[in-house]
Amino acid sequence: MYMVHPHHDGNELIGQILLTLPFVLALFLYVYAVILTQRRYQKQWPIYRIVFWFTGIICTAVSVIGPLAQLAVVDFRAHMVTHLLLGMLAPLLLVLATPMTLILRTLPVSKARMVTRILKSRPLRILSNPLVAALLNVGGLWLLYTTDLYMLMHQNLAVHILVHMHVFLIGYLFTISIIYIDLTPHRTSFIFRSVVLLMALAGHAILSKYIYANPPAGIIKSQAEIGGMLMYYGGDAIEILLIVILCYQWFKSTKPREGLLQKQIISQ
C-alpha cells in the first residue's frame, strides 16, 4: 500500500518556490555577467555556453517546480526522472557553461582575486577532491534510498528542500571534480579520476538494482522496479557523456609534440 503522504498544498508550493528561486537567480546573474563581459572586452561570450546554462537551469526547474515535481512526490518513477535531471544532467550542462570562468572575467580584479583565494582554500580543495565528492554523492544516494530518509523527505518540508539542494550541489561538485572544463584550481591525475569515476558509476548501478529488488519504504514494487531501471539506464546515458569528456581531455593532454614526431620520422 501507498504510505507516502504529500505535504499540504500550501506548504508544497512554498517548498517548490524556495527551491526554484536560487536557480532563477543564477539564470539572471549569468545573463547579466555575459552582458557586462561583452561590454568590457568587446568580445562575444560563446553562444553555446549560454545555451548550456539555459538548458541546465530548465532541467533543475522542471525537477523542483511544476507538474513533474508534483508527480514526483507520489510517483517513484517521476521522482527518479527528477533525480537524474537534478543530480546528473543539470550539473553537467551547467559545468559546460563555465560559470566560474565567466565570474572571474566579469568581476573587477580585486574582487576576482578574492574569489580565487576562496576557490584555492583548503575546505574547497578537500570538497573538490574526486574521492570526497564521489563518496558524498553516492553515499548520499544510498542513505536516501535505503533508510527512512526518502519517506521523511515527503513528510517534512525542510528535509525535502535540504535533500534536493544536496542532490544538486553534490552532483555539481562531483562533475567539476571529474572533468576540467571550468576553472579548476585543484587538479588530480587522469588515472585517479578515472578510478574514482568508475567506482562511482559502479555504486550507482549497484544501488539501482538494489532499489529494484528492495523497494524503499512506502514505494510499491512495480514502481520501484521501473524506477531502478530508469536509474540504471538513464544513469548510463549521462555517465557516457562524462566518460567521453574525461577521455577526450586525456587524449588532448597526451598529444605528442609535433616536432618530436617529425624528428622520429626523419631519424629513421
Binding site: 578515472s194 569515476l197 568508475l198 567506482m199 558509476l201 559502479a202 555504486g203 550507482h204 548501478a205 549497484i206 538494482k209 538494489y210 529494484y212 529488488a213 531502478g228 531501471m229 540504471y232 548510463d236 555517465e239 557516457i240 566518460i243 567521453v244 577521455c247 577526450y248 586525456w250 587524449f251 597526451t254 598529444k255 605528442p256 614526431l261 624528428k263 622520429q264 620520422i265 631519424s267 629513421q268
Partner: protein, 173 residues
C-alpha cells in the same frame, strides 16, 4: 608509393606493442558486454535485469563490470586514436587483444557471474546446460584465437629485425 607510406606510418608500433594489446583487450571486453546488453537483455529478453536468486556479491560484480565496460569501450577508442596519432598502430596485436578481452569477459560472465553468483541465467524455462556449454566453449575459443594472433604477430617482429630496421625506435639509437 602508397605501400611505402603505409609501412612508414606504423613504424613506431614496436615502442607501443603492449599498448596495442591492452587497447584491444579493453575494447573486446566492452564490445562483448555491449552485445550481452543489447542482444541478450534488450532484443531477446533472455537475460533478466534481476533474478530473485541474485546474491549481493553478484550485484556488486555486475555493477563494477557494467561501469567498467562502458569505460573500457570509450577509453580504448581514444587509446586507439592515440596509437594512430603516434603512427604506432599494430593491427594483429590489437585484434588479438580484442579476442582475449572479449573471451575473458564472456568466460567470467558465463562461469562466475551466471553460475557462482547467480546473477541471472542465459535463458529461462529451458534446459540450461547446452546454453552454458556453448557460451563458455565460445569464450575459451575466443581466448585461444587471441593468443594465436598474438603469437603470429611475433613473426612480423622478427621479419622486421632481419631486414635490419630499427625495432626500438629513436629512443634506443
Amino acid at each position: 608509393m602508397v605501400k611505402d607510406n603505409q609501412k612508414f606510418t606504423n613504424q613506431h608500433r614496436f615502442n607501443y606493442e603492449r599498448r596495442n594489446v591492452w587497447t584491444g583487450v579493453l575494447f573486446g571486453l566492452g564490445v562483448v558486454a555491449f552485445i550481452d546488453e543489447t542482444v541478450f537483455h534488450q532484443l531477446l529478453h533472455w537475460h533478466h535485469f534481476y533474478d530473485k536468486s541474485t546474491t549481493d556479491i553478484g550485484l556488486v560484480s555486475d555493477g563494477l563490470f557494467h561501469a567498467f565496460s562502458w569505460f573500457a569501450t570509450i577509453g580504448s577508442s581514444f587509446m586507439l586514436a592515440d596509437l594512430h596519432r603516434r603512427h604506432a598502430f599494430w593491427f594483429k596485436k590489437w585484434l588479438g587483444g580484442i579476442f582475449i578481452g572479449g573471451g575473458a569477459f564472456q568466460l567470467y560472465d558465463g562461469t562466475i557471474q551466471h553460475k557462482v553468483m547467480n546473477l541471472h541465467q542465459i535463458r529461462y524455462g529451458v534446459d540450461i546446460l547446452p546454453y552454458d556449454a556453448i557460451w563458455n566453449v565460445l569464450a575459451l575459443a575466443m581466448i585461444i584465437v587471441g593468443f594465436i594472433l598474438l603469437r603470429g604477430s611475433k613473426g612480423e617482429e622478427r621479419d622486421t629485425e632481419k631486414r635490419g630496421l630499427n625495432v626500438h625506435g629513436p629512443s634506443a639509437s
